[in-house]
């Protein structure tokens, strides 16, 4: 790999280990995300996908290894600092603020940005990607449907102007048509707006459709990695994760 390409890497994890109490969840995860790409992190339940994202966004400190964001070691920094630097995490289960309005959810998403930032402009951009949020802007977020809540979770993360967007299981609990809709938007976020995305997903086939590169996690380790075509070409991947 040449140095020119290497400088493109926004996020690099090397040998990251992490644990919940005495339970080791990650046993040395190494991966790279390049500027402007979508990287998918696939794997079964409990493989360590969410844990990896939690380490990247600072919710969990790694016990060993390094997380490097744009050339700086960020391990151990607090989430609120990392958001300011551009690592924005849309967590599993959406975690929207149910008892405030859609618009307030979006405004709070921009909390880390400077006082005079163009919040209105960002909100219009988000509404461009998710027109339904504009219709529902005055509603309590809890009254949204599951798909709309997922859109709000992504829109809220976009309000922080991420340099890298961490999406945890955006298809969770949604009907297939809604999943398609969400992934169409994720695709255009990347291809049109140029947002770099690290995507965790159990639904491997939708994730591979949008990703440039993918890693497969198994019990806290990267089991294999490759381009979507390479992975689809492997019989073991097809059988374990794609179901054909």
């Amino acid at each position: 790999m040449s140095t020119a390409v290497r400088s493109d890497v926004v996020l690099r994890l090397s040998g990251v280990r992490a644990a919940y109490g005495f339970i080791q969840a990650l046993h040395g995860v190494s991966l790279e995300v390049r500027e402007g790409t979508v990287v998918a992190l696939l794997g079964a339940n409990g493989a360590g996908k969410t844990t990896t994202l939690r380490v990247v966004s600072g919710l969990l400190s790694p016990t060993a290894g390094a997380v490097e964001f744009r050339g700086r070691n960020t391990s151990g920094m607090s989430p609120s600092r990392l958001v300011g630097q551009g690592i924005v995490h849309a967590p599993e289960g959406r975690q929207i603020f149910g008892d405030v309005t859609v618009e307030e959810n979006l405004r709070i998403g921009a909390y880390s940005r400077p006082w005079r930032a163009d919040i209105k402009g960002s909100m219009e951009q988000v509404f461009g990607f998710f027109p339904v949020l504009k219709e529902r802007r005055k509603q309590q977020a809890a009254s949204l449907s599951g798909g709309e809540q997922q859109m709000l979770a992504i829109g809220r993360a976009l309000m922080a102007e991420p340099r890298i967007l961490l999406l945890d299981e955006p298809s969770l609990g949604l009907a297939p048509l809604i999943v398609q809709e969400i992934y169409r938007i994720i695709h255009s976020l990347n291809r049109e707006k140029g947002v770099t995305i690290l995507l965790v997903e159990q639904n491997a086939s939708v994730a591979l459709d949008v990703a440039h590169y993918a890693y497969v996690l198994e019990t806290g380790r990267i089991a294999l990695s490759g381009t979507p075509d390479e992975l689809r070409g492997r019989e073991d991947v097809r059988r374990s994760y794609l179901g054909y």
């Binding site: 609120s80 958001v83 924005v88 975690q95 709070i108 998403g109």
Partner: protein, 305 residues
């Protein structure tokens, strides 16, 4: 039953109720953000009221009042930082800490200022105001106005400012708030500070009425707690509404229980109506909660996930 007496009792209930409301609001804020009942809220208020009393021997009322509010804010914020943060993940420990705060401030106040009552200054003394058949004490009017202004300021703060919104979402979902870049520890500290400051205001407003003693907030806290539960522990407007209802009920029972007992031909006499007002008031609240456990304005206990 004449209309003037009824109106009088309701109006004076609204005024007392605004104090219950302030303290109930403080408890709701703590319950929302930290999931605990701060039983010490009243004792903290008493403590800062004593401090204000000491200050007011040397400085004018307004300055003493303001200083006490600021001191209370730092006591509240300091408690969160130094004590609550150590045990915040342990619900059992939080209960004990709540009781501990009660005991610490109760005995601290007692040992510094002793049990004897002191009169607390009131800025508006003098003859009560007569207004369309109602008699309103100047101090009662004053405390009502202060309570309502304060409540409105807080409403606008939480509803329309970035910081207020950040505090609300921190209380609702701390991890998600953290992921928005909100320094959630600081938000909780601010919340504790504001709650303590509210308590201090309530204490200083109520002290001229109940006279200043280390135990003065005990019943105020009890009824404020009832108000918070009645209104719904997750509802700030509920806390204020609950305060009014509790106080009005107390007043009406105090005045009319004799009539009611006679009317119903119950086989006993009421010697001192005031002994019954609190029992009936709390009884009513229990009845309301039996029908509506979430309180009047609280959110349903079942949530969509």
């Amino acid at each position: 039953m004449d209309f003037d007496t009824l109106a009088q009792q309701i109006v004076s209930g609204v005024m007392t109720g605004s104090i219950y409301g302030l303290l109930a609001l403080a408890m709701v804020m703590i319950f929302q953000s930290t999931s605990m009942f701060n039983f010490g809220q009243g004792e903290m208020a008493t403590f800062t009221t004593f401090l204000a009393w000491g200050l007011m021997l040397h400085v004018p009322y307004g300055l003493g009042f303001a200083l006490a509010v600021v001191i209370a804010f730092f006591i509240g914020a300091g408690l969160e930082r130094g004590l609550i943060r150590l045990v915040e993940d342990n619900p059992m420990a939080l209960i004990i800490v709540g009781l501990g705060i009660f005991l610490i401030f109760n005995s601290l106040g007692g040992s510094i200022w002793g049990p004897e009552p002191h009169s607390f200054p009131q800025p508006f003394a003098g003859a009560p105001i007569k207004f369309i058949g109602l008699t309103i004490g100047k101090h009662n009017l004053y405390l009502f106005v202060v309570a309502m202004v304060l409540t409105s300021v807080l409403y606008f703060f939480f509803r329309f400012t970035k910081l207020g919104l950040a505090m609300r979402v921190t209380a609702a979902n701390r991890t998600a708030a953290e992921l928005m870049g909100i320094p959630t520890g600081l938000m909780l500290m601010l919340g504790w500070g504001i709650a303590a400051a509210l308590g201090a205001v309530a204490g200083m407003l109520v002290a001229p009425i109940v006279v200043l003693t280390p135990a003065m907030m005990f019943f105020v806290l009890l009824f404020s707690f009832a108000a918070a539960v009645l209104g719904g522990l997750d509802s700030a407007p509920g806390a204020i509404l609950g305060g009014f209802i509790v106080a009005i009920t107390q007043n009406l029972v105090g005045v009319y229980i004799d009539d009611w007992v006679n009317f119903l031909h119950l086989p006993f006499d009421i010697e001192d109506p005031n002994q019954y007002r609190d029992i009936v008031a709390i009884g009513l609240i229990v009845a309301v909660l039996a029908i509506r456990p979430r309180g009047l304005l609280g959110r349903p206990l079942v949530q969509r996930v």
